[in-house]
């Protein structure tokens, strides 16, 4: 029987960061996954737990603009960073182009994996304003069990379009 690794005792530490534009300072086990700080300490529940192994992407957030799977990101690494979750991407009144595209294509079914996909997509179109189908296949590797990939692909193209049109207008 394999011997399981045992966690070292938690070291409580103070961690300060900005989340969705707002400064926070939390006392927490520095090694604990940032996901649980976001969900259970800051009560931002839009970021989901799917596997805890960085395999499904449901917990994807942005750290300084980069897509990060927060179940595999120790809280201590958030120190001094700017974090964005689905709640900070946009809202019902002022949706992010990715959210707008998701609404137009009526993407979600159960909806559970969708925030992770939208965060990954927002990072993608930031880096690559006009992703090809192949770019989408290579970058968007989260898991959706309801099988909304078909609509998602359309929404990702649409999001890029929307983002490019707002950028060119401004």
């Amino acid at each position: 029987m394999a011997q399981l690794f045992q966690m070292k005792p938690p070291t409580k530490m103070n961690i300060s960061f900005k989340i969705n534009g707002k400064a926070h300072s939390v006392d927490t086990d520095g090694d604990a996954p940032l996901l649980w700080v976001i969900r259970d300490v800051l009560d931002l529940k839009g970021t989901k737990f799917g596997c805890g192994k960085a395999a499904c992407g449901a917990c994807t957030i942005h750290v300084d603009g980069e897509a990060v799977r927060s179940c595999s990101f120790a809280a201590k690494f958030a120190e001094g960073k700017e974090i964005t979750t689905i709640e900070g991407l946009g809202n019902a009144e002022n949706p992010h182009p990715v959210q707008q595209a998701w609404i137009e294509e009526i993407v979600p079914q159960c909806g559970y994996c969708q925030p992770g996909f939208m965060m990954a997509t927002a990072a993608l179109i930031d880096k690559n304003p006009s992703p090809t189908d192949e770019d989408i296949d290579d970058n968007i590797i989260n898991i959706c069990r309801c099988g909304t990939y078909y609509r998602m692909r359309k929404a990702i193209h649409r999001a890029a379009e929307l983002k490019n049109s707002t950028t060119s207008n401004s």
Binding site: R39, K45, G46, G111, T148
Partner: protein, 726 residues
């Protein structure tokens, strides 16, 4: 209009403010049907799913709020299938409100509006099609009668639209009408709207939960919380058949954040201040499990074999058995046989199972993703020694259902931990536990036999399927059913022959008991059974060089079900321009199935790239009768096709050293974005007078359609899921 003046009785109609708005509690005379009196096979397998609602307590269906919104307390849960939107459409049309005026909420068990069975089997819309519209229409007439009284007008003079009752310039909103009313006049059930007058039914209304789900606000089970809540973790076994014997939790007591170790007769868990603390403490609990043997994949495959277990003839026409046992035909090779297999499948829904529970001295509250609200309540009540009325189950959105949430022992575990600490406790599975303690789709083995006549048409056809159980062991199926029915309806779902013009056919189900839990998995046996039957049909067609679509069409009987199937097959083949030719490296594969009364056909366009099967396009035609929401019917078809591609091309649990594995996404391969077809063309036919099943039927034909295309490309007949090239 005939109206019956009725004094309000608590059992019939009550207006109350308990729920925050003004509620109208409708009596349940409309729904007083006893589904168990129906022929069970029929009600579970066929086209007329009853709504198994609670029949003896008042139900809260609608609340009308002062801002003129209608809150609909849904006995069906929303797990992505769009049922909230569909039910709102049904209600809106009869209530004469805009669909966006309806706010859908999950009915808590305390409101009484509990589905006695489940949300599952693709029955939600179908079962509520008539009752919900009748309720809504009745409520509209009640509001009109009341308004007439308040406005001093004849009810005939009133017009209703968007929740406003008007006569000329004189008007009242529903919200105004219900304010302060304690006595209602109840009409007979009014005539329902003609289909031509539907404003919402049949329209592609955007999902009502769309914006919420896009901005991240909906509450799933794992998002639920209660004040002062603690976190629990339960030790779960990895070995198949492991029984909890004892545990040593000495070390866990001293772990940081631990509040209490909870030991029950059948499990041990730990409660701590944070989820991570609970999980860390759980790791140091040493549990002694008892297992009887170390199962392997081979052991399971040896069990799942046609010829093992209890056979039952589930379908019989003519004399297939005799014809196919004819020794001379056998010797001459006239009898064609083939075998197919499907693996153990995991649900792999993204939201793990779990619950938030708070047990107080005289009541319990459970917040949970469940497909069996009433059974969750029953199980918790039984274990706590409470009456069911003392347990309020509050269903949340489900982060995927797929049948996984038809078993909710996790609610009991959370409740017992809460009881032990006197505070609310949230407790969830981790992903490894999900994979190893799933209620799996059972593996199957299929043996098919056929004899063709001199014209190359099927003279006799037989399908044998061996499978682990699907419905037995589920709380949905009472124990007494098992000896009556014998075979497992879930296991042979899709296993019957749908081509009724074949003169001799029969289907035999072989029931095998497996050492691990197998149960409902979206579409049950449909995917595997259709894979076997429809692959074999292609083989038979090609035997004499027949066009597989024509071959199928010629063997469909002339009745209503046959007509609907024929139209669906023709529609898919026509729209896809079905051809036997391989064009630019892409071949088409065809398959069809009828599930829960809904026929569906797929044409899959497939190529081989880097030695991998690639599905480019699927043309799907489906006849759900009435499509209440065509957009969501399409969404269910797209989702079923992609989930079906995932299951038939990638997914497979195996058994090693007594453990079900793998334990994580990735090693448990699933379809990703790159595997989804870039084009899915859905054609909706409506050849019935009521809505039928949608959420599962389109899963049926996908595996066979892909395999049939692969044969065109490679001459390899793939007989096993997941489909892999030699």
């Amino acid at each position: 209009m005939t109206t019956t003046k009725k004094k309000i009785s608590r059992r019939k109609f009550i207006v109350r403010t308990l729920l925050g708005g003004t509620g109208v509690i409708l009596g349940t005379a409309y729904l007083a049907r006893n589904p168990l009196r129906r022929e069970l096979n029929k009600s579970l397998n066929a086209a007329e799913p009853p709504f198994m609602g609670n029949t003896d307590t008042p139900l809260v269906w609608f609340e009308i709020t002062s801002d003129n919104k209608v809150r609909l307390h849904s006995p069906k849960v929303e797990m992505g299938q769009g049922t909230f939107t569909g039910l709102a459409q049904l209600a809106a049309d009869e209530l004469e409100v805009d669909v966006t005026q309806i706010e859908m909420v999950h009915a808590e068990t305390i409101t009484g509006n509990v589905d006695g069975m489940s949300t599952g089997g693709s029955t939600s819309i179908a079962s509520l099609w008539q009752p919900l519209r009748e309720l809504a229409a009745t409520m509209r007439e009640m509001l009109k009668l009341q308004a007439a009284k308040q406005m001093g007008l004849e009810v005939q003079a009133l017009e209703v639209s968007n929740g406003v009752i008007a006569s000329g310039s004189n008007s009242m909103t529903y919200g105004q009408v219900v304010d302060g009313v304690t006595e209602w006049e109840i009409p007979e059930i009014p005539a329902l709207k003609d289909a031509n007058d539907f404003k919402f039914i049949g329209k592609p209304v955007p999902r009502l939960d769309l914006t919420d789900k896009v901005v991240g606000t909906p509450m799933f089970g794992i998002d639920a919380s209660m004040p002062d809540m603690l976190f629990g973790a339960v030790v779960r076994p990895s070995q198949i058949g492991a029984k909890f014997i004892s545990a040593d939790a000495t070390e866990a007591h001293n772990m940081p954040g631990v509040v209490r170790v909870v030991e029950e007769e059948d499990f041990i868990g730990v409660v701590a201040h944070t989820m991570i603390e609970a999980e860390n403490a759980k790791k140091v609990i040493k549990v002694e499990w008892q297992t009887e043997r170390n199962w392997s994949t081979q052991d399971i495959e040896d069990l799942i074999k046609v010829g093992n277990g209890d056979p039952m003839v589930i379908q019989k026409t003519g004399n297939a058995k005799k014809i196919l046992e004819d020794q001379e035909s056998n010797d001459n090779g006239d009898i064609i046989t083939a075998e197919f297999k499907s693996p153990i499948g995991a649900h792999a829904q993204l939201e793990p199972n779990g619950a938030v529970a708070f047990v107080e001295s005289d009541k319990a509250t459970i917040m949970i993703s469940t497909q069996v609200v009433s059974f969750t309540r029953k199980e918790v009540a039984e274990r706590l020694g409470f009456d069911e009325e003392q347990v309020n189950v509050i269903p949340t959105y489900l982060g995927g259902g797929f049948g996984r949430r038809l078993h909710t022992p996790n609610a009991v575990q959370a409740a017992l931990m809460s009881k032990a600490v006197g505070k609310p406790v949230k407790c969830f599975f981790d992903r490894k536990e999900e994979f190893q303690n799933d209620t799996f789709r059972p593996p199957t083995h299929h043996l098919l036999k056929a004899k063709l006549d001199s014209n190359g048409m099927i003279e006799a056809f037989e399908h044998n399927v061996s499978s682990g159980d699907v419905m037995y062991g589920s709380p949905l199926v009472p124990g007494f059913v098992e000896p009556i029915l014998g075979s497992d309806i879930g296991a042979w779902r899709g296993g019957m022959i749908q081509y009724g013009a074949i003169p001799n056919f029969r289907a035999v189900s072989w029931r095998v008991k497996l050492p691990f839990a197998t149960s409902w998995w979206r579409s049950l046996g449909l995917l595997a059974n259709t894979f076997a039957i429809e692959s074999f049909l292609d083989e038979l067609a090609l035997k004499n060089g027949k066009n597989p679509v024509e071959f199928r069409l010629q063997q469909i009987q002339n009745d209503k079900a046959g007509d609907r199937l024929r139209k669906v097959i023709e529609a898919a083949a026509d729209k896809a321009n079905y051809t036997d030719e391989v064009v630019n490296g892409i071949a088409m594969g065809f398959a069809a199935s009828t599930d829960a009364g809904t026929p569906c056909a797929h044409v899959a366009e497939v190529s081989i790239e880097n030695k991998q099967i690639k599905v480019h396009k699927v043309t799907c035609s489906i006849d759900p009768g009435i499509a209440v929401n065509p957009d969501q019917v399409k969404a269910q078809c797209e989702g079923s096709i992609i989930m079906g591609i995932s299951a038939s091309m990638f997914e497979r649990m195996y058994v090693e050293e007594g453990q079900l594995r793998p334990i994580i996404y990735g090693p448990y391969q699933m379809a990703l974005m790159r595997h989804a077809p870039k084009d899915i063309d859905v054609i909706i036919l409506e050849n019935n007078d009521k809505p039928g099943a949608v959420g599962e039927p389109p899963l049926g034909p996908i595996g066979a359609a892909i395999a049939n295309a692969v044969f065109r490309l490679t001459s390899q007949r793939l007989r096993e899921m997941p489909l892999q090239l030699a």
